[in-house]
C-alpha cells in the first residue's frame, strides 16, 4: 500500500466515531498497543521535548527502507504516534520525502499539530523527514 492508501484506511477507521470520547478511547487503545521503544533507545539523542509531553523516536534503515519505533509519556499522543509509525515505517526515504500527509487533519486531530501545543508531534514529523533526508 502507498502512504496515501494507508492514510485513507486510517480515515475510514475513524469515520465510524461520532463522539470525541470514542475517538480518544481508540487512540488510547492504539497508544497502549504501540510496541514500546527499547529502553536503550529511549535516550537523550532520541528525545523530542515539548512542554506538554515528551516523545522518543528511533529510526533504523534496513534494505533501503526506514523503520521507526517511538514512545511518549502521554498515551493519546502515543496513539497518534502509532498512526504516524503505521504510515511511515517501512518506507523508502524517497517516499517519505515526497509525502504530504493529511490524515491527522482529516480525523480532526489538527490541534495536536499546532506549534504551541508543544506535545512533540510536529517535531516528530519533522524528525522523520530529517531521517529520510539523511538516508536518501
Amino acid at each position: 500500500m502507498t502512504i496515501k492508501e494507508v492514510e485513507q484506511e486510517i480515515v475510514d477507521e475513524f469515520s465510524i466515531f461520532t463522539e470525541w470520547m470514542d475517538k480518544y478511547e481508540y487512540l488510547i487503545e492504539l497508544g497502549k498497543s504501540l510496541p514500546i521503544i527499547g529502553e536503550n533507545a529511549k535516550q537523550e539523542g532520541n528525545l523530542i521535548k515539548g512542554c506538554q509531553s515528551r516523545v522518543w523516536l528511533n529510526a533504523q534503515i534496513s534494505e533501503g527502507k526506514l523503520f521507526f519505533t517511538a514512545d511518549s509519556d502521554a498515551i493519546i499522543t502515543k496513539g497518534i504516534i502509532s498512526l504516524l509509525v503505521r504510515v511511515y515505517s517501512g518506507r523508502t526515504p524517497k517516499e517519505i520525502l515526497e509525502s504530504d500527509i493529511k490524515f491527522i487533519e482529516k480525523i480532526g486531530l489538527q490541534d495536536n499539530l499546532s506549534p504551541t501545543r508543544a506535545n512533540g508531534l510536529l517535531s516528530m514529523i519533522r524528525q522523520i523527514k530529517y531521517y529520510a533526508a539523511a538516508y536518501s
Binding site: 470525541w20 480518544y24 478511547e25 488510547i28 506538554q52 509531553s53 509519556d73 498515551i75 506535545n119
Partner: protein, 408 residues
C-alpha cells in the same frame, strides 16, 4: 447600592461563560492563566476603539483629552484599590513579565554589582526567575534561592542564612501559580527590611485572590497583570515606592518619557512617565481601570468565603481518588489545584476533559524548577475565578474520574 456577593450574580456579568465548547457547557478552570472579562470592560474597549481614540498626553484636541482623562483615572483608581500612597507610583506596563523586567534592568543597572546577589524562591514562575538570571549574568551577581518543603511552603528558617549583606533585592511571589498557597510575604518583607533590603512581590495571582493594601504591606515593588484580574491582555502594573522609582534610571527610552531632548543631552520626565516610554496601551489601561471599578462592586469577603468552601470540597474529593496527588498543601490555599494522577498523563487528562467542556492547564506551568523539585514531568491544574461555582467544582471532579477511568 449593596455590593455583589453571590456567584450567580457575578456570573451574569461575564458573557464568555455562557458559551458552549465542544458541544458542552463551558466550565472554565484556567483562570490562573487568564480570566474572562465583564461586560463593562468589554464595552469600554469597544467604545474606545470605535470612538474615543486619541493618543494620550500629546494633543490638545478633544479625543486626546478624553483618552488622557480615562488613562489617568485608571491610574488613580488602581492606586486607591491597592492603597498606594501616590498615583505616580503606579506605572503601566504590558504585564507582570514587563514589570519584573523593568525592575530587573533599571534597578540592577544602578544597584547590582559583582559579588552581589538577588534572592528568589524555588516556587517562582519563569518570569520571576529568568529576568533575574539575565541581570545577574550581566552584572556578575549571584541568584540565591529560598527552598520550599514537600508541601510547597517556603522554608522560612533558611531565610536567616540566605539574607546577608550581598542581597540587593528579594523577589518573591505572593501566591505561586502552581501551588496556590498564599505565601507569608509579610514575614519576608519585615525580615528583609530589617537589613535594609528592598522586596519585589510578584502579585500576578495574589492581586486576584487577596485584598492588597500596599502601604500596610510595605513592599517596595508589586507587579501584576490586567488579564488575570478580569481586565484586558497586554496591560499590567508595576507599583514602586516613589523614592525608589525616582532613584532608578529609565529602562526604555522614547517619546513621553522625556522632559527635553537635544542631540547632546536629554532630561527625563518625572514619574510615572519616566517609565512609560512610547505610546502606552492606553485603551488597555483605561479598561483595566474599568476592571478595578468592577472589582470595587464585588463583595470580596463573600467571594473569599465561597472560595474556601470550594477549596475544602476539592481537597476532600481529590484525596478520595486513588493515586491523585495534590501539590501545595496549606490552610492558606486559593482554589488553584495542581495535581498528578498515577497511571494517567496530565495532557491526556486535559485533552479528554476539554472535550467535556472543561478548560484546564497541563504541562510545566512555566515553573520548570518547581516541577523538578517535586520530581514531576508535568502537572494538571484547575484554577478557579470568582465566577466559578461549586457545581463546576463537582463537574471537574466527575470529569476527572471519567478521564482517569479511560486512561488507566
Amino acid at each position: 447600592m449593596g455590593k455583589i456577593s453571590s456567584v450567580s450574580e457575578i456570573r451574569k456579568h461575564f458573557p464568555a461563560l455562557e458559551q458552549q465548547v465542544n458541544g458542552k457547557r463551558l466550565v472554565y478552570l484556567d483562570n490562573g492563566a487568564t480570566a474572562h472579562k465583564p461586560h463593562s470592560v468589554i464595552d469600554l474597549i469597544n467604545q474606545m476603539n470605535s470612538r474615543t481614540n486619541g493618543n494620550i498626553h500629546r494633543a490638545v484636541h478633544e479625543l486626546s483629552a478624553q483618552t488622557t482623562a480615562l488613562y489617568e483615572a485608571a491610574r488613580r483608581d488602581i492606586q486607591k484599590y491597592l492603597n498606594a500612597a501616590h498615583p505616580e507610583e503606579i506605572i503601566f506596563t504590558s504585564g507582570t513579565t514587563a514589570s519584573i523586567n523593568l525592575v530587573a534592568y533599571s534597578f540592577a543597572s544602578k544597584f547590582l554589582n559583582r559579588g552581589d546577589s538577588i534572592l528568589i524562591t524555588e516556587a517562582e514562575h519563569h518570569s520571576n526567575i529568568v529576568p533575574w538570571q539575565m541581570v545577574c549574568d550581566m552584572r556578575g551577581a549571584e541568584l540565591k534561592v529560598l527552598p520550599v518543603d514537600d508541601s510547597g511552603n517556603w522554608i522560612l528558617e533558611s531565610l536567616d542564612k540566605l539574607l546577608d549583606n550581598s542581597v540587593k533585592l528579594v523577589a518573591v511571589s505572593q501566591i505561586s501559580n502552581v501551588l496556590g498557597i498564599i505565601n507569608p510575604i509579610e514575614a519576608v518583607i519585615t525580615k528583609a527590611h530589617s537589613l535594609g533590603i528592598p522586596v519585589l512581590i510578584d502579585g500576578a495571582q495574589g492581586v486576584v485572590h487577596t485584598k492588597v493594601d500596599l502601604q500596610k504591606l510595605d513592599c517596595d515593588f508589586y507587579a501584576f497583570s490586567g488579564h488575570k484580574l478580569y481586565g484586558p491582555t497586554g496591560i499590567g502594573v508595576l507599583y514602586g515606592k516613589k523614592e525608589l522609582l525616582e532613584s532608578m534610571p529609565p529602562w526604555m527610552g522614547g517619546g513621553d518619557m522625556v522632559e527635553s531632548v537635544t542631540l547632546k543631552k536629554t532630561t527625563y520626565a518625572a514619574l510615572p512617565l519616566k517609565f512609560e516610554a512610547g505610546t502606552p496601551n492606553f485603551i488597555g489601561a483605561a479598561a483595566l481601570g474599568e476592571a478595578i471599578r468592577f472589582m470595587n462592586q464585588i463583595d470580596l469577603a463573600a467571594v473569599s468565603i465561597y472560595e474556601k468552601e470550594i477549596v475544602t470540597f476539592l481537597i476532600e474529593e481529590l484525596t478520595k481518588i486513588e493515586g491523585v496527588k495534590i501539590f501545595g498543601v496549606s490552610d492558606k490555599k486559593i482554589p488553584l489545584f495542581s495535581i498528578t494522577a498515577e497511571g494517567a498523563y496530565p495532557s491526556d487528562i486535559a485533552m479528554i476533559m476539554d472535550k467535556l467542556g472543561i478548560a484546564l492547564r497541563s504541562g510545566f506551568m512555566c515553573a520548570e524548577p518547581l516541577m523538578q523539585r517535586f520530581g514531576a514531568e508535568s502537572m494538571l491544574r484547575a484554577s478557579f475565578g470568582m465566577y466559578n461555582t461549586m457545581e463546576e467544582a463537582q463537574i471537574f471532579v466527575e470529569g476527572l474520574k471519567r478521564a482517569l477511568k479511560m486512561l488507566r
